[in-house]
Amino acid sequence: MRAPGGPEVAAGEVLLSVENVSLSFGGVKAVSDVSFDIRKGEIRAIIGPNGAGKTSMLNIINGFYQPQQGRITFKGEARAKMRPHEAATGGIARTFQNVALFRGMTALDNIMAGRTLKMHSNFFWQLLRHGPAMQEEVEHRRSVEEIIDFLKIQEIRRVPVGRLPYGLQKRVELGRALAMEPELLLLDEPMAGMNLEEKEDMSRFVLDANDYFGTTIALIEHDMGVVMDLSDRVVVLDHGIKIADGTPDEVKRNQAVIDAYLGVAH
């Protein structure tokens, strides 16, 4: 089922694979019969023109959408569909195309929210702010502060995120996802609406997250320059169908991809 021109590139075992996945809304086919995999430690880009089914694909992976057909194998466990809670506990974190933050909360609280699943003390201790709960809170704060340093957002940690400029909101959102210590991080257009400088910063954070934390990343992006620079492998969707899969160079030369992006002469 390999697309034209898609040999194996990055080594490493498969972390997640989708096989023959289809999803339609009423009569509209958002994703049809798509298969690809994501290997441990790589940066995998999903690209395609508008309406290609990229975001639907991410939503299927983290359980927001349930595909009608196909199979998702994550960490060796195959299932017909993912549920959001399963995805989160299993180690899949994500960001959203239109930033989805907890607007009333500070940047710090937003990132702390990413630790939800890691907190285990019962609420009587939390009420008393004492004993195991206090210790736990301190530990979580420490790792959250690390992420805040990593993303260079120390000065805004106490600011309600609704007040932050867009670029910083995206950074906080990335922070919240990283706070989950995910094995697989899904980024839906992390650089949309950013200026060049912000894009460069964000690209660095993505690369560093991949390097330092060893996080496997799947990202959707429209900026081809960014995609080609960042990703190890690229899968190309068009009208819900996979048209190419391979290294950035291979994909760039692929005729089907060129046609999809530039249009075919009639």
């Binding site: 927001f64 959001p84 809670h85 907890f102 909360m105 702390m112």
Partner: protein, 318 residues
């Protein structure tokens, strides 16, 4: 001149010359205010967790009180009936989550708001079907709710405090404090605020919407039960109680829809303002002010602080 005197001077003269009556009025306002605060609290809990004004809160008060009385009248001991009513409120929360909220995840708030109308009418019908439509008497002796009043000779007259009112005020205070701490200091509290802000983001960090919603509706159900017991004991248990619950609206406008302290302060201001207004200014317009005075207070506040006393400032980037 005469009218201005009657509005701006005479009431205060009366307050000063008959302090016992003034204190009595104040006390009654305070108790009424605590109970308004309790009702408002039920609304705040659900609003915080889902951004939805739960129209059904009023009928939940009636439904909880009816269940308690119904079980007691069926011959169960009072505290067993109370325990079972708590179980029923939990089942209600569970059912609402399963049957109403879960299918509506990620829908616009207005859809959920309309769904609470549906819950309201369902509970009215279901309540009447099971318990009948007649007013009932609240269980008081069985729950050790005191009767009678404590009378003080003070301030040159008599001040009478109903024992039931004292218990109501104390219970309401404890309940409000407990819930306030629970939702501000615990992980569940943080998760609750997260859910209120964004369903999808909350899901993506592994917060279980199902769990949060059941907890919140159950908490609102408990608040409804306590409210129902005290309102029911002061008057009787009937579907008319549902209208009292709408008094929570001015309280919420005053206090802010998202603030637990706001619900309390708002409740007290409305309760006291309403009683003072009725007693001192009511006669000027021929009485009957309690139906609308609270809304006037809220309206005046709205002009100056649209987000309420303690509401979160609305931040909108353009």
């Amino acid at each position: 001149m005469e009218l201005l005197y009657q509005i701006f001077v005479d009431p205060f003269v009366q307050m000063a010359t008959a302090p016992d009556l003034f204190v009595q009025t104040l006390w009654e306002g305070l108790v009424g205010g605590m109970l308004y605060a309790l009702i408002a609290l039920g609304f705040v809990l659900i609003f915080k967790a889902s951004g939805v004004f739960n129209f059904a809160q009023g009928i939940m008060v009636v439904f909880a009180a009816l269940t308690l009385v119904g079980l007691y009248d069926a011959g169960l001991p009072a505290f067993l009936a109370l325990g079972l009513t708590i179980v029923v409120m939990f089942l209600l929360a569970f059912t609402v989550e399963r049957a109403v909220l879960r299918p509506l995840v990620n829908q616009p708030d207005i859809i959920l708001f309309m769904a609470t109308f549906g819950i309201t009418y369902f509970l009215i019908g279901f309540g009447e079907f099971v318990f009948g439509g007649d007013p009932k008497v609240m269980v008081t002796d069985g729950l050790f709710l005191p009767k009678g009043a404590i009378t003080y000779k003070a301030l040159g007259g008599i001040v009478q405090l109903q024992k039931l009112d004292i218990v109501a005020a104390v219970t309401a205070t404890i309940m409000v404090a407990a819930l306030g701490i629970f939702f501000s200091k615990t992980r569940i509290g943080r998760a609750l605020r997260a859910v209120a802000d964004s369903h999808s983001a909350a899901l993506s960090v592994g917060i279980s919407l199902e769990q949060i919603w059941v907890i919140v509706w159950f908490a609102a159900g408990l608040v409804a039960l306590v409210t129902g017991i005290f309102w029911g004991a002061r008057s009787d248990v009937s579907f008319a109680l549902e209208v009292i619950a709408l008094k929570a609206l001015p309280v919420l406008i005053l206090g802010g829809f998202t603030s637990i302290p706001g619900a309390i302060v708002g409740g007290l201001i409305i309760g006291i303002g309403e009683k003072l207004g009725e007693f001192y200014w009511g006669p000027l317009v021929g009485g009957g002010t309690d139906a609308w005075f609270a809304y006037v207070i809220a309206l005046v506040f709205l002009l100056f602080r649209p987000q309420g006393l303690f509401g979160e400032t609305i931040i909108e980037r353009v």
